[in-house]
Structure formats: C-alpha cells, structure tokens
Symmetry: C2
Subunit: 390 residues, 2 copies
Amino acid sequence: MTTTTYTYEPLNEITAIRLVKQLKLFSESEALTAREIGDGNLNLVFHIVNDQTNKSIIVKQALPYAKVVGESWPLSLKRATIESNALKQFGSLTPELVPDVYYHDENLAVTVMEDLSHLTISRTGLIQGETYPLLSEHIGRFLAHIAFETSDFAIKPQEKKELVAQYINPDLCNITEDLVFTDPFFDYNTNEFEETLRSDVENLWTDEEAKLEVAKLKQKFLTSSQTLVHGDLHTGSIFASERETKVIDPEFAFYGPFGFDLGQFVANLLLNTLSRPAQKRSVLLDHITKTWDVFQTTWNKLWVESKVEPFVKNPNYSDYILQQTWTDAVGYAGCELIRRTIGLAHVVDIDSLPDEERLNAQKAALRLGRYLLTHQTEISAHDFKNLIEE
Amino acid sequence: MTTTTYTYEPLNEITAIRLVKQLKLFSESEALTAREIGDGNLNLVFHIVNDQTNKSIIVKQALPYAKVVGESWPLSLKRATIESNALKQFGSLTPELVPDVYYHDENLAVTVMEDLSHLTISRTGLIQGETYPLLSEHIGRFLAHIAFETSDFAIKPQEKKELVAQYINPDLCNITEDLVFTDPFFDYNTNEFEETLRSDVENLWTDEEAKLEVAKLKQKFLTSSQTLVHGDLHTGSIFASERETKVIDPEFAFYGPFGFDLGQFVANLLLNTLSRPAQKRSVLLDHITKTWDVFQTTWNKLWVESKVEPFVKNPNYSDYILQQTWTDAVGYAGCELIRRTIGLAHVVDIDSLPDEERLNAQKAALRLGRYLLTHQTEISAHDFKNLIEE
C-alpha cells in the first residue's frame, strides 16, 4: 500500500467519497451517496452509504475555525488527531462503548469511523421520553475504566507523562476555561440569558462564596493532569438505544481531573430532569446514582489489580481518591448547570420548554448549581432527589 | 556566525576549552586552564579560567546515565535542555538570583554559564556556621516570583500549556517519585539507614496514617502542573555569601505543585537545624519564617497586578492558594526529612555528626517528618521552633 501525503483542504461530498474509496473502505465500483450531516460550526461530518448494501461510514473533518452564534475564531486542527487518538485509546479499554476508528490523517484532520446512525443522540432521546435503561451502567463503566486506566495508577508515570504531552489541547481547553469557568460568572458579552433572569444572574455575579468555588474548580481544570478526560461529555456526545451506548466527539480530550467528565454528565442528566414534570424525574435521578455506583465498583476492581503504585495497598487511599473524584464532580456539575443556563451554549432540554416552565427550570438550575458549588463535600449521589424537589 | 551541529560525546578538559574558544567566549590566543569539578554522578562540570586575567566560566555537560552508590542507569540528556531553559526562565524573572547562561547546545547536552566559585554552596556554609543573613529574603522572593509568574495567574493558559509540555521531565521526576515518595516508605533495597534506626523505620513502614499522606502528596506531585518548579531545591542547589544568593542545577525542573520547592528548602533548613546544638538553631528557624513571609508578600504584590485571571479579584482566592501552597510545603518537607534520613540520599549536615548526636538527629528528623505529614493543615511557619524543641 502506498502512503499518500495530503495537504489540508475542506472535503466535499465528492472528495469524501474519493477518500474512502482510496482507503479501500469501499471498492471503486460501488455507487455511494454522501451527505454532510454536521452542524457546520466546528466540523464537517459526511455520512457515506452504499444504498444497495446499506454499508455506511462516517468521515469527520475538523474545520480550522469555530463558528458560534455568528462569531468565528481560529481553532487548531490538532484537535482532530486528539479526537482520533482518544477514540482509539477509549476503544482499547471499552471497545463496546465507542465507535471503531478505521483511519485518521493528521494533515487532512480527518477521521473515518463507524456509522452509528442506528442509534439516537441521548439528549434527543431523553427529551423524547426515552429511558435508556443501560445508559448509566455503560457510562459509569466507561468513566471508571478511562479514569483509572489512563492514570498513574495503571500506567507507569514516565509513560503517562508522554501521554499528557500528547493530549495537551490548548485551544479546546480554552473554550471550556472561558465558557464554563469564567464568562458566566462575570458580566461578559458572551453570556446569553433572558431579561427575566437578570436579577438571579446579577446575584450570582456578586456571590463571592460561589465564585471562589468556581475559581478553585477552574484551577483544578487548568492544572490537574490526573487522567485522560473526554472533556465534553454531555448527553449530546452520547449515542444510545435500549441496548447500546456509544461515546463520541472527544475533541476536547486532555489530561484533567478524575471528576470532570462525571460532573458534566451528571449535570446534563440534571438539566433534563429539571425540564420534566415531577412524576417523570425518577428515571434520570436513578441514572445518576447508578452511574456513580458502577463507577465505584469498577474503579475498586481495577484498583486492587494495580501493579504500578505500591500505595494502592493502603486501605484508605482508594476511598480518598473516590471521595475527591465525587466532590470535584459535584462542583463541576454546579458549573455546568449554571453555564448551560446563562452562558453561551444552552441545552435544548430546557430551551425548548414553554415560557413559564422554561423560566422555572432555569431558575431551578441556577439555584441547584449554586448549591452544588457551595456544598460540594456534603452531597451524595442520592441527595439529588431531595435537592430537586426543594 | 556559522552554526555548528554537534553530535554527543563527553567533553574532556581539552575539548571543553576548544568549545568555549569556538563560542568566542575567550579568544583563540588566551591560555586557559580547565578542571573537572563535578561529582561525576550525573554531569561533567568544567571550571575554565584564564589564570592571567582571572576570567572564568563553567561548562556543564549531562552524562547519559546516573551513577548512585555504584548503580548506573540510563538518564535522558534532555534534562540539560530543561536545566538551561529553566535557568533562562528564572533569569528573566529574578536575574540576580541565578547564574547567567551564555550558551546551550541540545545535542551536546552542554550549558555554558557564569562561574560562581566566589560563592559557597549554602549547605557547606551552613554546616560551617555561616548565617547568610539574606538567604531567606532571596529564596522567598525567588520562589514567589517563579511560582506566580510561570502559573496560569500570569501566563495565558494556552501559552502556559506549551510550557508544561516543554518541561515534561519523565526521567528526573521518576527519581523523585521513587526516592522521595516511594522507596523510604516501603522495605526497598535502595534505602540506607543504620541498624539502630531499624525499629523507627519499621514503625514508619506500617504507619498507614502517615503513608496515606505521602500517597496524596505523591499524587499531587504526579498530577499537579500549577507552576514551573526547580524540582531539587535543597541547600546544595544554592550558592550563597553574605550578600549574594544564586540558585543552580534545575535539571529536575518540571510543572508541579506551588509548594514543592518551598517544602524541600524548608526541610533542608530543618535538617541543618537538627544537626546543631539548641542554642545555635534560631538563625535557621528565623530563615524559615522569613522565607514564607517574603513569599507571601511578594506573591500578594504580583497577585493584585495579575491581568490574566479575572477571579483574582475575589478577596479570598489568594488566601486559599497561599494556604494550599503552605500546607503542601509542610507535607513535602515531611517527606524530605524522612527520605534524607532513611532513603538513598542523605545530607552531610547530619551524616557527618558523631555517633550519638547523629542518631538523635536522625530520630528527631523521622519524628518531625511524621508529624509534619499528619498535621499539614495545622502547622504555621512559626511552629517549627516549638516542634524542634519538643
């Protein structure tokens, strides 16, 4: 097989088809249809299918800029390689929970991967009332495996440091640093909220107690390289069905705190919970407790098998790490609840509600977010039920 | 000026002189004397002097292996570049407290720098009874400037992440991970202690409370990239006189916790304190309180001028970071006291004492180390006086 060196140019339907044929993923003679299905803000996503055999594939290409609400700023193409590496690394640990990666080219910023269109994006499904009975078991297992097995507890520190360097992701981390941890807590013009929320928002901007906690969580996000994190694990980054769960889109991946992904996932379940009438909430709250239960069980199983860190034999060390992970997750969930309510990027779960319900859900999200920030060490996974009802 | 590309080979007196002449640091016609003054375990160090003019210079070259107590293992030459970069970065922040760097070549693993032989290594001077009245003011200022100005509080997070990658230092960090944070706390054969200490050492090995704190401090060392740290800031890495202080040898530099260097420096002052009779200790204890006072004052001055992090306006945030820094420093000091007493690398301050005094000092160092580990959050810089007397 000859090696082709590509120079970057955005693909279109024709060149995307040409690429997958060059890669022998389809034969030259097959009649293929390509459709661009991305949202066009950060990436091009081509769904390529042979309509006769139904064999299909995804070609994802990073764009050299980000477009959000009309603004455009340059964004490193390196994120495509980070995404591809992270998918492969996740795949080596929990192959059933991520798409297969068939090909990546760094110059083209292209990853060719398994088509998951038989599944639904879990945010969309949850809004439509799907329950995804295995979602929490799968995500709890995914998070524990990734957290443990890419950390200094499973990889020799010398090798892990090379991974830290490989996953350094300044541009994408900067988006999180600004949009999750900074802008919503100051009167910045990236924020988006309705005038009826203004007094709540202004109270937050002067709430130095809550903001101190945000500052600490941001510090940890900036400086803690405990493990490879997905970096953007909301319910829109998870494909699901009754039986399957697949985590996608780790272009924000980097070495960060154990609790970060867990907190974002929990917060997005909470946002969906807040969008529902009281009697339909328990399935989401059960998913939260189950995620954390499975995380702990999986983690502890991996922990006792660790060959890298002699201190794992200390009976209280695992409890300490798990406690720290959960406390951080509660804090990160608080940040996510707030930024999804008043920051640049909202969630459809709540934004699509009728006026009064939306306002109530938004106010509840802000209240809950603040409570999580200021009570991180006191909240167990079982407490969300009471907190939501209050 | 033409650029020469070197391939690595260990220098000798003749090739070292040839190099500094090639670099035009001396003219071709000067008669130079070169003398190798390194300890030969990790580096070659040539002192090159023109005996007529007394102009002198240091040529330091990394060796591709480390020799410690007869053992030899391979060690990356990259550390020479890290050392040179760190010296230059420190020099841009506190030029009066580090040697000038005249030249570095990555392939040769050579750094040519200012000769400081008019000064004394502070460990040697302190053992001889020197007081170095400006030592703590200088080191407090050095530590605060480096800690603050290489952190996300002073450098844009995107640029700081590139520095984190540049300073990733797996081989040298691994030495610290093993010799400071692991081996002394288990029955490993790298440890070195006299049989009379065995029962104290065995008590430590089964002391799960103290070991849990070591595990947490090791975790932070492995995963916290708050700031550029020197990585080996004991009193043997500091040249001093009555008026001058110069920090040398940052080949262990990497992005680590704010409190690490401070803890190692404090511990080495404590080790010297423990080697002295009671009436001669106060000068060292005063150095500890002064170091921390100056660190805080310098840090707070830099903090209010920060343009990078909007949360610095939060009145309690600086206190939180300083508290965390000090608490970590106390813990790291505890680890250092213990590993310098029973681990592979001891300190001359104590090892050179007569039998009974040495044993008493070693027992006191172990007791104090354990106390610092298990009381990190309760100890102020002024408490060491009472702790030492007890």
